[in-house]
Amino acid sequence: MQLKGDRRLEAFRRMLRIRRFEEEGRRLFNGGQIPGWFHTTVGQEGAIVGASLALRDDDAMTGTHRSHGHPIAKGAHLQALMAELMGKEGGVCKGRGGSMHFADSSVGIISESGIVGGGIPLATGCAFSAKVRGVDQVTLCFFGDGAVNQGTFHESLNMASLWRLPVIYLCENNGYAMTTSVATSHGQPDIALRAAGYGIPGEIVDGQDVSAVYQSAAYAVTRARAGQGPTLIVANTYRFDEHNIGLAVSGEPYRQVAEVEAHKRDRDPILLYRTVLLEEGVNEETLATIEHEVAQAVTQAVQFALASPMPRPETLPDYMFVSTIAR
């Protein structure tokens, strides 16, 4: 299963939408127009888009505090996301969630957990429901290398294996959890190896290669949909920005400037894929058109967000309860 034809352009488009959305968001954040904390996925778009493209529209997803990329990769509109960043009424979560919690249910995202590791059981349960109800929906579960050390990772993978749940565990392994490297927090640094303990396949893929990730994920999705159970995919990737924008880390640097620069230069998933597409015969104009469209979409999203009103104070309690009774 390879990315083919227009799907290749879609992969390029979605990566770019994430990148431009976050670049614009970062600018607005630095300018004080976005409150809270701001974690970008810049550098990690290949892993996110590659995996998400392997899903059907009715498949489900869960993500993390680094949440911007997931809905965009799954095909979300940008307006409500940008408005959410600003805490506006028109935000996808009505201003209740913010940057870390881009759960956009219109594209099947059931949660983006600000609690590291907290989304892993939810994804497992989402897949459990599909199995119990006998539908062929698959769930894709994103989490970081740091989250792997949470008990929920272990407990969830065990249950998914036991009941052969249709779930793909996708580790965005960017090498660090805040300032802590995999080498200084994992007794054994090959995360994919942990899968064997639960009797499920575990594999490593180059997260900067969107089509490689797609291939891996598409295979796992096929297995899951066929009732053959979960897969753990570790996509090795890299975070170009600081853990969150504006974070000042005192003391010795936990990663060398040269390391970061080398990744930005040689391992940018969007630049790499652009080159691939050109080599594959896609012409420059096609890509330029996409780039232009993406820029426009981001601009429109900002306009929408700025124009959206703030939630009115009296709406504070809204959305706490559904308060309906099952029929």
Binding site: A60, T62, G91, V92, C93, K94, G95, R96, G97, H101, A103, D104, S105, I110, S111, S113, I115, G118, I120, P121, L122, A123, T124, G125, C126, A127, F128, S129, A130, V132, R133, G151, T152, E155, S156, N158, M159, L162, D318, Y319, M320, F321, V322, S323, T324, I325, A326
Partner: protein, 335 residues
């Protein structure tokens, strides 16, 4: 315990009734709701055995799932399933194990609907049972409901009669939001008349006056209803008439029912088996000291377990929780 008063009340409700224990009523509520709605599934350790053998017979393995010992995640699995179309009942068994699931219940179940701006619903029930006076020792004898009272987004029930647990359990299962059910195991064997109507629902958030009286209002939480009713019966002979209120739902709590009673009696005692500090009694007392202050003739008294862990030794556990005598003493003190 003398459940006479209660039985009378239930018998007064129209429609046919059947006698059963509190525990049987829980099992029946689950059975009926599982029959009614195929989205209802039961998850828990050894549930296929302990959850009443009947369940697996009736529904097979696709509706009744034995969980590995992974409380921190199988609660979350239930939450994810609830978001995605099921209506799980998650059995955490002993209440003291709920600490392992705190993150999923608080950070996910109670928050996600709000944090997503209402994009998702989480219709889920968490059940657990609270032991006492059986030498279970501290790691199996907690009553952790006060901890969850402080958490927005959760509903909490802890009814005390067979009819009430059945009606409230059914309401919980049909509710669209997360509901926690705390069952006092001392109530499990108690019998009562239970309506056979499969739509016998008791609304979440409504207290019940278990006994009417004039002189003092006693609010009894969960298992504390037993010694409270004993105390009320005991004092009747002395001409002291005690009004006993069972909130049944701990959150949202029916403050109005308590206020109405204080209007009559001017005296309030809260009896609870939970530890003393920041328990439901604290909250009731605080609300009444704010909102019914002028009606109160005397200080508000609270009886509860002390701020000490539950000991193993029967000699120490015997008088650990409020007893008929300690309640009688408190009532006398207020008159």
């Amino acid at each position: 315990m003398d459940v006479k008063d209660d039985t009378h009340r239930d018998a007064a409700t129209p429609g046919p009734h059947i006698q059963m224990t509190y525990f049987e009523a829980i099992v029946q509520a689950q059975l009926e709701e599982m029959h009614r709605d195929e989205r209802v599934v039961l998850l828990g350790e050894d549930v296929s055995v302990h959850g009443g053998g009947k369940l697996i017979e009736c529904f097979g393995k696709n509706r009744v799932w034995n969980m590995p010992i992974s409380e921190g995640s199988f609660t979350g699995l239930g939450i994810g399933a609830a978001i995605n179309g099921l209506r799980p009942i998650v059995d955490i068994s002993t209440a003291s194990f709920i600490y392992l699931a705190c993150d999923q219940i608080v950070n996910q179940a109670s928050k996600l609907r709000y944090m997503t701006g209402g994009q998702i619903d989480i219709p889920i029930v968490f059940r657990c049972c609270m032991f006492s006076t059986g030498s279970e020792a501290a790691q199996h004898a907690d009553r952790p409901y006060p901890l969850f009272m402080n958490v927005p987004g959760l509903k909490i029930i802890s009814p005390t009669s067979a009819a009430d647990i059945k009606g409230l359990m059914k309401s919980a299962i049909r509710d669209g939001d997360p509901v926690l059910v705390f069952e006092d195991t001392r109530l499990w064997p108690l019998k009562g008349d239970v309506p056979t109507d499969p739509d016998h629902l008791i609304p979440i958030g409504k207290a019940d006056v278990k006994r009417e009286g004039e002189h003092v209002t006693v609010v009894a939480i969960a298992g504390a209803i037993r010694p409270t009713m004993e105390a009320a019966n005991y004092l009747i002979e002395e001409g002291i008439s005690v009004e006993v209120i069972d909130p049944r739902t701990l959150k949202p709590l029916d403050y109005e029912a308590i206020k109405m009673s204080i209007e009559k009696t001017g005296r309030l005692i809260i009896v609870e088996n939970g530890h003393r500090i920041c328990n439901v009694g604290s909250e009731i007392a605080a609300v009444m000291a704010e909102e019914s202050f002028d009606l109160l003739k005397r200080p508000i008294l609270r009886l509860s377990a002390p701020d000490i862990h539950v000991p193993f030794s029967p000699a120490l556990e015997k008088d650990f929780f409020p007893t008929r005598d300690s309640i009688v003493g408190a009532i006398r003190q207020l008159l």
